[in-house]
């Protein structure tokens, strides 16, 4: 099975790019016309690292270089047999046309256009999940790694914290309270609805169901 490439389609207009959380607001990037903006570069990096896809390129619309077309070309050249184009931020209405014409040009390659992000999802995570929807090779890698959400643990189960799927503020609070990657957590009470009680670092903590769903855990490996 061939590789899956990812193209992050960003706006080349005046208000392009994701603003990010927290810190992002504070900084205004002066970007030159021919370079991938740092925030998009970072996004691509997160997708590469977070999703394990090494063919990730950024392309812009509105005539800005590198264009979406050239980004599609780049990932195909690098060996992708399937390309998932994902809009970063507000997609412009002509994106679908661009992609269908690209599909015509690269007949042998499967080019998929993914829908716009749902509210509140972080871009990188959302992109990864979108790509996975269209990637049969991915199967359930999350399950293969044994990754689950903390809220899915049954009463009495113990797991190790893997990472967080949450904003900076919550991650900061949780990690200060001892929810750090590698820490062992035991589910004390989980009735499948309402808040849960977990034990972490000798402390009982009540966590809202929403918060518990934002912590990814893995099974305790031998020796951990």
């Amino acid at each position: 099975m061939g590789k899956t490439g990812v193209v992050i389609a960003a706006s080349g207009g005046a208000h392009g790019g994701p603003t990010g959380r927290g810190r992002g607001r504070r900084l205004h990037w002066r970007r030159s016309k021919h370079v991938v903006a740092p925030e998009h570069e970072r996004l691509a990096k997160l997708v590469r690292e977070g999703g394990g896809y090494d063919l990730v390129e950024v392309g812009y619309d509105h005539g800005r270089e590198p264009s979406i077309e050239s980004a599609v070309e780049a990932v195909i050249k690098a060996g992708a047999s399937r390309v998932v184009v994902v809009p970063a931020g507000i997609a412009n209405s002509s994106l679908a046309e661009v992609i269908s014409s690209e599909e015509g040009r690269h007949g042998e390659v499967d080019i998929v256009y993914a829908q716009e992000p749902a509210d509140g999802a972080t871009y990188a995570d959302w992109i990864v999940s979108k790509v996975r929807e269209h990637d049969p090779g991915y199967a359930t890698a999350e399950a293969a790694f044994g990754l689950r959400r903390l809220g899915a643990l049954k009463t009495g189960e113990t797991a190790v914290i893997h990472d967080f799927d949450a904003g900076h503020t919550l991650v900061s609070r949780l990690s200060a309270l001892g929810f750090t990657p590698g820490a062992s957590v035991t589910m004390i009470q989980n009735y499948g609805h309402g808040p849960v009680i977990v034990s972490v670092r000798d402390t009982r903590m009540a966590l809202g169901r929403g918060e518990a769903a934002k912590i990814r855990v893995r099974q305790v490996a031998c020796g951990e």
Binding site: G20, G22, R23, G24, R26, L27, P38, E39, R42, D163, F164, H168, T169, L170, V171, S172, R173, L174, S175, A176, L177, G178, T180, P181, G182, A183, I188, Q189, Y191, H193, G194, P195, I197, V200, R201, D202, T203, R204, M205, A206, L207, G208, G210, E211
Partner: protein, 663 residues
Amino acid sequence: MSEGRVIKVALAGQPNVGKSTVFNLLTGLSQHVGNWPGKTVERKEGVYSHNGTEVHIVDLPGTYSLTAHSSEEVIARNYIIRDRPDVVVAVVNASSMERNLYLVAELLPLPSPVIVAVNMMDVAHQHGVNVEPEVLEAALGVPVVPMVATKNQGIRELVQAIDDLVQDGALYQPKRPEIRDDHREVLREIRDLVSPYVPEPYPEDWISLKLLEGDDEILDMMEGRVPEDVWERVHAILREHEDAVVAIASGRYEWIGRMTRAALVRPGIGQVTITERLDRWATHPVWGLLVLAGILGLVFWLTYSVGAPIQGLLETYVVGGSAQLAENVLAGAPAWLGGLVVDGVIGGVGTVITFIPILVIFFAFMGLLEDVGYMARAGYVMDRFMHLMGLHGKSFIPLFLGFGCNVPAVMGARVIESRRGHLLTIMLAPLVPCTARMMVLAYFTPLFFGAAAPLVAWGLVGLSLAVLAVSGVVINKVAFGGELSAFIMELPLYHVPNWQTIGILIWQRSLSFLKRAGTLILVVSVVLWALAALPTGEIETSFLAGMGRLMAPVGALMGLSWKMMVALFTSFIAKENAIASLAVIYGAGEEAGLAEILPQVLTPAAALSYLVVQMLFVPCVATVATVFSETNSWKWTLFNLLLLLVISFGLGILVFQIASLVT
């Protein structure tokens, strides 16, 4: 030696470590309670003397870390950085050392020397954890004092350790936590960029670390100081390393792991602890609610069976007695002076005094439930229901206290960390029917509704709670954008309550109520008396009656005469005043007389609408005063008054119009 020396000691610690017990032991009753400047966070200070040294202790707010998650952390760290206490005593809970030492890991990089007081050694032992203080002391390089504050153990050693450290700074050789290798280079880069702009007295390393942790307060502070081009570079680094916050926290926990490896001994007895056994009931989705209902029922029962009679006794003997005395003394004085003293001053002071028994009972229950560790469980089981209003389980207890009296409810809202949740809880508290309103309800309903009286009374209580829920949903959506902050709450281990801690808490809370609300109640009471007495001395022709007549058109919509409107106004002093003022206005000799007059002048529809308005009307002056002192904002206080005014009149009109159609 050190005669006449004065030193400053700050007491730091996470919540649930017995910090206030340690503070009480050190200072006894020589405490001063106030607020941190510009904040609603309580600030406690105290003094003790040891070997001729005067030691001033400041109790810092309980915080899990020193990163700006709420105003408590900012207060704690700013005090240490700006006021440079001679010693910081970090109180930690021996039964959860790892998490507790996180705060110590954050305190050590700050300039003041730290003493670690390991409290609750007995609780830890019961839970199968033994802490070896000498080993921990050797590992950390800072003095470590084992304590059982509830049994008065270790306090002398702590005082001695503070003294030793101040006498000889060389004792302090801390092994500070260092950032993990993977972020050391980044931290250095940031420091090089920002260090010329770090203001005194902030340590440069600390500022750089907090920037890397993404601390909002420090980001804002430094953004204003660092030139734009440099800031852009700093920001680029920070964006690149947004995940550093987890790495830094993990690094601190790894450091803690190394520090405690030898000092923590777990005999590993696999026995079921008391906490586990109790929590099987207390946090169960069904039994937990029943346990909660049982406890709350007990609070109610005690309030009515103990609080109300004492309140009555105070009313009769203290207030009535002093009024009698004043009347006798002022017999020869002009009538207005007698009126001012008896109705204005003594009436006002009397209201304050009669509040005390109920307040004390509620503060005692709150203190007890908090101290044994149950409060967090109540919040846990109620969380699902409170979520509907955009609140957390934590808001439940203060709101419940409102059934006794709205004042402790508003004060109790302090337990909610987020400003948003705190404000919303305060705004909703006056909608909980308090005992005084229940008294009016109990007086009115039998007069008009006969056998259906209990049904009407419970219906009105239900209506109040429904209005509370709807207001919660609406205010949350409109004023706060419907966003809910994260629910993360520690469930502390259960332990035996410390009566001294609870006693001091009751004393301080009651005193604070007397001081803050008392003066305002007195003023409003005198003003209201003046309005009722001026200019003719007769209430019928007074300014207050004028105001009542002014409001008559609105009253007419609710089927209420100007007399009933005046009764509403006077209930502003205290809800139960409504009955007394009606008696005066209708010229009834005593309450029995009023009971005969009222059914003649009011239709059942009008009586129902009056009760609706009475239940939901602007709360009494004591509650309003407390709302103001707790929110520290005229804007929110006025918003609250307006909200209640609109709701009560709106529903009053609605009920009267519908009831008139039906009957």
